[in-house]
Amino acid sequence: MAQLICQNLTLGYDAKIVLSGLNFSVNKGDFLCIIGENGSGKTTLMKTLLGLIQPLDGTITLGDDLRANEIGYLPQQTFVQRDFPASVEEIVLSGCQGRCGLRPFYAKEEKQRAAHNMARMDITDLKKRCYRELSGGQQQRVLLARALCATQKLLLLDEPVSGLDPKVTLELYHLIEHINRHEGISIIMISHDIAAAVKYASHILYVGKTLFFGTKADYLQSDIAARFAPTEGGEPV
């Protein structure tokens, strides 16, 4: 059974419909890239998948032993107040909160998990640093480590590389690819980087006036791919 199945999903805010008639599914180990123009409803879709907003119609079914609180997520923008005092370690550890349930304190196992994920993201030496004093790329890694603490199954990433330099972007993509390939964590990633989407994804979901869902090969055959082709400095890649 698939980990996540969306049937005939309609999303929006209050009465305003943003997207409708959405059908797709994610199996264990898939790498789904969601692409589409600004304002087409990608972030809204992600929030709906996370249960932060209710779908207006249709169903989201979780399967394959995936529970709603086992989804890790990297927000598009984390609005952290300029003066919020929080160390990297505290933030990463807060990703384990879902495992605690009603237990008030973190167990040794959770602390190890946080340490492991910090090592994975190569931020162990930043662990005592204050989050708001880090660079954008470092902050992104901290939030990714937090997301990894929350899940072992499915990771939702909303434009993880926006604002990062090409080198860090590549590193981050490799990290995500590694997590997907070698640890079997399914990935749903929103991205405007079509080249990367085509390179790393196994499936593509295009949202906009027309909808498309299929494997990468299908996508490359479709006419949406032709219209929404990746460009580099204006040149097709």
Partner: protein, 282 residues
């Protein structure tokens, strides 16, 4: 100098001074640990708003002739706190507007009631007492002290047990929600204990100065500390020191308790700002 200490030692033998110190320390401890969260959630003014609500409720209790006014004041304040904190981000009225609205309405209605029924209770006698705390902390009864001690211990216990959850929901409420934290319930508990603290603190510094007790230690700690845990601990210690110092000074110099404590808090803030400035300038 020794003469000063002798007088102090003399005073410390009186039970009313001991009571004032115990209550002062406990209340400042509670309000400062919650202050960190409130400041970060942009609810610095909730202390003011709720204390005005408590003031209005006190007036109602006095008019209605209820002898133990806590029976009315505490529930009303808790309900208002919950309404304010739990409407959260998608409320029509933004946090600051709703707090301002609530606080002025409560103040106006309370004062109006006291003027309409001038002979009904003790509160109408001296509005200043309720607003500035006056010297009521030096006239605490044993029951007051016990009530304060019990409620403070409950608040501290709840805070310690929920510490990690409070951090998670303060830092990123959406993320906490997706990991299965029951954000709604914890916000509710938080609102309730905040209301309890505000009502308690009204005895200490009066309703006009509560915000100082809530925000100053947190803001001072945030100048120098860089993570949530150390900010919380630092602000708690600082607040306890400032309040004890303030109470002692006010006894020695016979100044109003509430304003003296706040004055010490302001001085501490200035010192911490300076230290913070020097550190980051390094």
């Amino acid at each position: 100098m020794t003469a000063l200490f002798d007088t102090l030692a003399d005073y410390l033998r009186y039970p009313f001074v001991q009571h004032a110190l115990i209550v002062g320390v406990l209340i400042s401890l509670c309000s400062s640990i919650l202050g960190v969260t409130l400041v970060l959630k942009r609810f610095s003014f909730i202390g003011d708003g709720l204390s005005h609500v408590a003031f209005g409720a006190m007036a109602i209790a006095a008019v209605a002739g209820v002898t133990n006014e806590m029976l009315i004041v505490l529930p009303v304040t808790i309900i208002c706190a919950i309404l304010l904190l739990c409407t959260g981000q998608n409320a029509r009225l933004k946090g600051d507007a709703s707090i301002a609205m609530l606080s002025v309405s409560a103040l106006a209605i309370g004062y109006l009631l006291m003027n309409l029924f001038p002979n009904s209770g003790s509160v109408s006698g001296d509005v200043c007492t309720t607003l500035f705390g006056a010297t009521s902390i030096l006239t605490l009864t044993k029951t007051d002290v016990w009530l304060c001690v019990t409620l403070s211990i409950i608040v501290i216990l709840v805070f310690v047990l929920l510490y990690n959850k409070i951090f998670a929901i303060t830092f990123d409420e959406s993320f906490a929600k997706t990991t299965g934290t029951r954000v709604g319930i914890y916000n509710l508990i938080l609102a309730a204990i905040i209301a309890v603290i505000i009502v308690l603190a009204m005895n200490l510094v009066g309703s006009l100065l509560i915000s100082a007790l809530v925000i100053f230690p947190a803001l001072s700690a945030m100048r120098v500390c860089r993570n949530f845990k150390s900010v919380t601990i630092c602000s708690a210690c600082l607040s306890v020191c400032c309040s004890s110092l303030g109470i002692l000074i006010s006894i020695l110099a016979s100044t109003p308790v509430g304003s003296t404590i706040v004055a010490v808090d302001i001085a501490a803030f200035a010192v911490f700002s300076l230290v913070g400035r020097c550190r980051s300038g390094r």
